[in-house]
Amino acid sequence: MSTEISVDGIYRHFGAHTVLDNVNLAVRPGELLALLGPSGSGKTTLLRLIAGLDNPDQGAIRFDQYNAIGRKPKERGVGFVFQHYALFRHMTVFENIAFSLRIRRAKKPEVQARVEELLKLIQLDTLADRYPAQLSGGQRQRVALARALATQPRVLLLDEPFGALDAVVRRDLRRWLRRLHEEMAITTLFVTHDQEEAFDLADRVVIMNGGRICQQGTPIEIYQTPSNAFVHEFLGESNKIPAFARDGVVQAQAGFALGRAAAEGELTAYIRPHYIVPATNPDGAWKIARIAATGAQARITVTFGDTVLESAMTADAMLAAGLQPDQNADIAITGGMLFDAQGNNPVKLLPTLATRALERVV
């Protein structure tokens, strides 16, 4: 059966610096969970604590109700994949994978069979006699994974597993890991700073910042209802517009309408580029400053006085709309989020129909 992990009230200090500040987390049995955050957010430290490579200053870590604090990684039954793989450079691929079995004094035929099975799993059975330095980055990554899986751990932990790989290899390995996880149904945590990777791969995503957990949920939950401005900004580009709301109507400080919302007073609107849809209009108050088409996507920069907004749409939609640089235009704002001055109290920005720029209201 898959293992459940619970982390309760964890603190970890390095000198005067608090790396983990009251972290609480429940990892469900068999789920694939991403720890997502910028560097220095404490996500790797948390992973190392769960692995047993480090100990918390305060708090509890349980594996299926058993207290894991003070237990070694071996006793916890974790497999760990390091960011830079940490393969044993003086051992062949075969010996790397066999290491944990030999440590446990497994019988020779048993080792042989298990390693061969894993080599097939990672599709490297022809490279068993190579040394790590003779492999590509993606191959090393897979060897590191096979090594971690050799003793059939109950929990698999991966630290920035695809960090050092190029984009294509990264995507392939991601799909492969996802399939592997589905086959094995082993509780898996991975650390990443890449939101695309986290959202693509994980069942649930935990977002960390400054040693605390900001939000956790499924990718769609987090993307649709970010709990604060940090999460919203971290998940992708957005236009940040100072605004205020009165009687349910939200207006930019610069004097154009944004939409409707159940909010009141001064706010900041965060609007993703694809929520800004420009349309040509000779009488429009906006100007199309620049169009950059990068393959399937087009980015359109629109200006209104000093306000500069970034819009994104498919290149096809851009062509169909007949958008050209230096044209006058209108914009429609089809969605967004509002946060207060501290970046909290999220409120959804609801669209009005195609919105003409209003005159400055004061």
């Binding site: 990684p73 390091f82 830079h84 940490a86 393969l87 003086h90 440590i103 040394y131």
Partner: protein, 274 residues
């Protein structure tokens, strides 16, 4: 192209003059009076005793420095402690001090009128003009060879593989013998070969503390000098040829090991470059 050829020719000429010619001279002088005389010189009981003593000193000094080198590199690479940089600097001390001074220091410390001399003679322990002094002098002089090879290697390799071994269930001893030691083995091997060559060839420091009692506290390099100064030129060169042979064997051994493990060596080197 011309510049390249000139540089290569200069390098070869330099090497011939300073490395190859002396080697040839040693062997040709040693064999000048025939092979028979050569071997007679070597089986002389005093020379045989010198060979034995040299081997004994190296057999003690090299493992001592090997163990010290491993410990020092382990400490320096794995831990950050007060005095770490001082330790790194001190390890180089024997390289920067003249061996004769090292020998003299030992006499001042352990000699009859030295700091600890009174206590030692009260307890009937003889260090100076005896084997212990010669071993200590050799250890001092060859102290940096292993450590200097291994410390940078250990620092560069870091601690990742050891941590990986922990997650795979290895205990401290298993990590040391299966991971830490093997990944340093090439550095250790070079260090030991160099250390051994120097231990057998050391002259200055050993000369000060040995007392040069022919047949008792004479090593090979000391025997070369005493034979030479007593006009036994041919015997002197015969003994010298042994030392030269040792150097050649060391080189051949190193090359052979590199060749045998070329796959692994190539692999680890490429990783270094990457």
């Amino acid at each position: 192209m011309a510049a390249k050829n000139i540089l290569i020719a200069a390098a070869l000429a330099f090497m011939t003059l300073f490395l190859v010619l002396p080697l040839i001279v040693v062997f040709s002088e040693a064999l000048a009076a025939g092979v028979g005389t050569y071997f007679t010189a070597l089986v002389d009981p005093n020379v045989a005793a010198a060979i034995g003593l040299t081997l004994l000193i190296a057999a003690i000094a090299v493992p001592s420095n090997l163990i010290f080198g491993i410990f020092a590199s382990w400490c320096i690479a794995k831990f950050d402690f007060v005095g770490r940089n001082l330790l790194i600097t001190l390890i180089d001390l024997p390289f920067s001090i003249s061996p004769v001074i090292a020998g003299l220091l030992e006499v001042l410390l352990f000699g009859l009128n030295g700091l600890l001399g009174g206590w030692l003679s009260d307890h009937n322990i003889q260090i100076i003009f005896a084997l212990p002094g010669m071993v200590l002098a050799t250890i001092f002089v060859t102290f940096p060879f292993v450590a200097r090879e291994v410390i940078p290697l250990a620092q560069e390799q870091g601690n990742d593989e050891e941590e990986a071994a922990v997650t795979l269930g290895a205990n401290g001893l298993q990590i040391f013998f299966r991971i830490s030691l093997p990944k340093l083995r090439w550095g250790l091997l070079y260090g030991v070969l160099l250390c051994n060559a120097r231990a057998m060839g050391e002259f200055g420091a050993v000369s000060v503390v040995s007392g040069k009692i022919f047949g008792q506290t004479d090593t090979l390099s000391l025997a070369v000098e005493s034979l030479y100064t007593s006009y036994e030129i041919q015997a002197a060169f015969a003994v010298a040829s042994l030392l030269a042979l040792l150097a050649l064997v060391t080189l051949v051994l190193k090359a052979a090991l590199e060749w045998r493990h070329r796959d692994e060596l190539f692999a680890t080197r490429r990783k270094k470059a990457a």
